[in-house]
């Protein structure tokens, strides 16, 4: 009897592996294998065209002295620290507007979400380049207010700002998640609050925010991870210039790997980014203990 049990367990396990095999194979060959290879490459001098040469930690030592590395780190941190909170704020505001009970609200929701379907694409980045270019729409507007035409993407002071606005404009997916979160907040909490005489603003602070905090947390994590790897906009709109003021980490990594053909160096950069994002995410999780409120926990923290 024990024997047949064992056989059954084993065949169950086999069936289980078979069922997840599409994912498993994908993970092994498309995730794990390239990751292991990239770790190996990070310890080599690899030009793509000749076989990799083992150089130990030389790449990491060169990176430590590479001023473009520090520049791209600085640019990326500024981008993440400004664009993520702004985008979340914007997404939340739009979600609250779209959470009202007015006629035709689903129509408005569709219209407002529609641009997000093409949000991260190259086409939008090209459009952005034209809007903020020297003959672009923004300068036409500016001329009405008597402002001098300026190449927004060609000035070191404003170039990163245009990329941040592009990132904020891509608020759609965060907004949808916020909207779903807002719908989950029980109506009776608001009723109770208004009976107690709380103003709309007070209701937002005391009811909406705590109830929404897990959703905010989720969006924050996704936003931070996504922004650290931001590439398309910098690649298409500004190519990293002017004065490297928009040379984001992922863009620098790409240039090292595919333009300068230092694939080993680029792999090392990729692993440093992995560590940075992991640390940022861990910090977020630690901090979340102090501000994220889950409904099923007893006693509020909010």
């Amino acid at each position: 009897m024990g024997d047949s049990m064992n056989r059954k367990l084993r065949s169950n396990a086999l069936a289980g592996f078979l069922f997840i095999s599409p994912w498993l194979i994908g993970f092994l060959f498309l995730n794990l294998w390239p990751m292991l290879m990239s770790f190996y490459y990070s310890l080599t001098d690899f030009s793509l065209l000749s076989p990799p040469k083992w150089i130990g930690f030389q790449n990491f030592m060169s990176i430590a002295e590479d001023r473009y590395f520090y520049n791209s780190l600085r640019v990326t941190f500024v981008f993440v620290l400004i664009s993520v909170p702004l985008r979340l704020l914007f997404a939340l505001m739009v979600a609250m507007l779209l959470n009202r009970d007015i006629r035709g609200i689903s129509f408005y929701r569709t219209i407002i979400y529609l641009p997000s379907l093409i949000g991260g694409s190259v086409a939008v980045a090209v459009l952005w380049r034209n809007i903020f270019g020297i003959n672009g729409f923004i300068n036409h507007l500016a001329s009405f207010f008597g402002m001098h035409a300026k190449n927004w993407i060609g000035s070191p002071e404003t170039a990163l700002g245009t990329l941040i606005t592009l990132s904020v404009w891509q608020f759609g997916s965060a907004m949808i998640i916020f909207l779903a979160g807002l719908k989950q907040v029980p109506k009776d909490l608001y009723e109770a609050a208004s009976v107690d005489g709380a103003s709309k603003f007070r209701q937002f602070i005391a009811v909406t925010l705590p109830m929404l905090s897990p959703v905010i947390f989720f969006n924050l994590i996704m936003g931070v991870i996504g922004s650290f790897q931001s590439f398309t906009s910098a690649f298409v709109v500004t190519k990293g210039g002017p004065l490297n003021s928009t040379e984001m980490y992922a863009l620098y990594l790409y240039q090292k790997g595919f333009s300068a053909l230092h694939m080993g160096y680029a792999s090392a950069l990729a692993w440093i980014l992995l560590v940075i994002v992991a640390v940022a995410t861990a910090l977020n999780f630690t901090a979340s203990k102090y501000w994220v409120y889950y409904e099923n926990e007893a006693g509020g923290r909010g």
Binding site: F29, L30, N31, W33, P34, M35, M37, S38, Y41, L48, L49, S50, Y68, G133, I134, N135, K150, N151, I153, G154, S155, P156, I221, I225, G226, Q229, G241, P242, L243, N244, A250, L253, Y254, Q255, G257, F258, S259, A260, L261, M263, A266, S267, A270, L273, L274, V277, A278, T281
Partner: protein, 436 residues
């Protein structure tokens, strides 16, 4: 959460790693024995052959090349093509990636600047035999040789000179630049023109961050290339300071455009090119691109040589080259095609001057009477430059990365973040890493 990152974070590396993985799993070895058999069977000319060919260029060049490929297939029904073509942006990235996965095209359009590195890695096959090169200028041919072997066949004659808005100059009543004009002529003409132009119009761009124009300047002063062919840092400090200060002065006076304005200028983009939009009079340019300007601004383009000082400032060069991939299965067929491409009157007539002046002198003499306005301007610029010119320097091998630091430092100077002296020191410091 972390898994999500892992998947996204190394997407860029994933493709390469995976393709390398494939080759180490034996795909690469499989292709080897085929090479020999295909080579011999291809030469009898009956087996069907598919040649992959890759080039960069403008729409005019794409149209002409595709027409030529069709014609070749009509004449040799067993040969068909798989073309890959694009603009110059990203061309080398794509080519290198394909080469890394042992999947580069059979016939590759190459730039002079890449030849040293590609030859050093042995990726280009020997084209010394099988292509008729008797009508090609031996000096240009030499630029495609490596260790005595021809690995790159030049496709056109080219020169580095200047174009200008002829009709705008006429309207202002300014005489066009004369043969043998000097840098003093150039700068003083700029000051004179600016006072007659509108607020958003400029005689020429700020040359501070333009390394080509600086090379012209230093060469004309008899101080050689800023980075020599052998890979030595050769910026002449006095010449550099003179050059940088001249432009700093012009920038202060508003004679050249402010940095952000001129960064928006994109060559040959109908909505972004300042010369085409009438905001710029002079521009440094390759002869091979003149006909494209002529077609975008008909009857108003003039050409000139680069200004000189004690010595000439400009140079002649080959536009670019065709090379055959060392891994190609059809080397003989590829050579036959290149031979036809540069020598056949019908083929070269289709190509016109989209690749510069045809490389075969025989073809040029046949075609000359049929040249249109743009072609004639191209010839004119080459002739003007040919009167006295410098030897072209495609760049020292291994210095490709220096270009990024160089333009970065010079842009800081242009935006007024550092002084010309500091720029010189930084350039010298950056170059240390590349000098052997």
């Amino acid at each position: 959460m972390k898994k999500k990152f892992l998947r996204l974070g190394i997407t860029l590396l994933l493709l390469t790693s995976f393709s390398t993985a494939c080759s180490s799993l034996g795909v690469k070895d499989e292709a080897k024995p085929k090479t020999n058999t295909a080579d011999t069977s291809a030469s009898n000319g009956n087996e069907s052959v598919k040649l992959r060919i890759m080039w960069w260029g403008s729409q005019a060049r794409h149209d002409a090349t595709l027409k030529m490929l069709d014609l070749y297939t009509k004449k040799h029904p067993n040969v068909t093509f798989e073309p890959e073509y694009s603009g110059f942006d990203g061309y080398l990235d794509k080519l290198s990636t394909e080469a890394a996965s042992k999947n580069a095209p059979d016939i590759i359009q190459m730039d002079a600047a890449w030849l040293a590195d590609w030859n050093a890695r042995g990726q280009l096959s020997d084209l010394s035999t099988g292509i008729n090169i008797n009508d090609v200028d031996p000096k240009l041919l030499e630029t495609g040789e490596y260790n005595g072997k021809l690995t790159a066949v030049p496709l056109g004659g080219n020169a580095w000179g200047m174009i200008y808005d002829k009709s705008a100059l006429e309207k202002l009543g300014i005489a066009p630049p004369k043969d043998g004009w000097t840098w003093e002529d150039y700068f003083s003409m700029g000051e004179k023109i600016k006072s007659m132009l509108g607020k958003d119009q400029y005689p020429f761009k700020d040359g501070t961050a333009d390394s080509t124009l600086y090379a012209n300047y230093q060469l004309s002063k008899g101080k050689g290339w800023p980075i020599t062919q052998e890979g030595k840092f050769n910026y002449d400090k006095a010449t550099w300071l003179e050059y940088a200060n001249t432009f700093a002065d012009l920038r202060k006076k508003g004679i050249v455009p402010p940095p952000d304005v001129q960064l928006a200028d994109i060559d040959l983009d109908p909505t972004q090119d300042m010369l085409i939009k009438g905001q710029l009079i002079f521009k440094g340019m390759h002869a091979a691109q003149v006909s494209a300007y002529e077609s975008l601004k008909p009857n108003s383009i003039g050409v000139a040589a680069i200004p000189k000082a004690e010595q000439p400032g400009g140079w002649l060069k080959a536009t670019f080259y065709f090379s055959v991939n060392q891994d190609s299965k059809y080397k003989e067929e590829a050579k036959k095609f290149i031979d036809w491409f540069i020598n056949d009157p019908e083929a070269t007539e289709i190509d016109g001057t989209t690749r510069g002046i045809p490389i075969s002198n025989n073809i040029v003499s046949v075609m000359k009477p049929k040249f249109n306005q743009g072609d004639q301007l191209t010839v004119e610029m080459i002739d003007m430059t040919a009167k006295s010119s410098q030897a072209f320097n495609p760049g020292a091998p291994g210095w490709a990365d220096f270009g990024k630091e160089e333009s970065d430092i010079k842009q800081q100077l242009m935006f007024g973040k550092i002084t010309p002296e500091q720029a010189y020191d930084e350039l010298a410091k950056a170059a240390k890493k590349y000098e052997k």
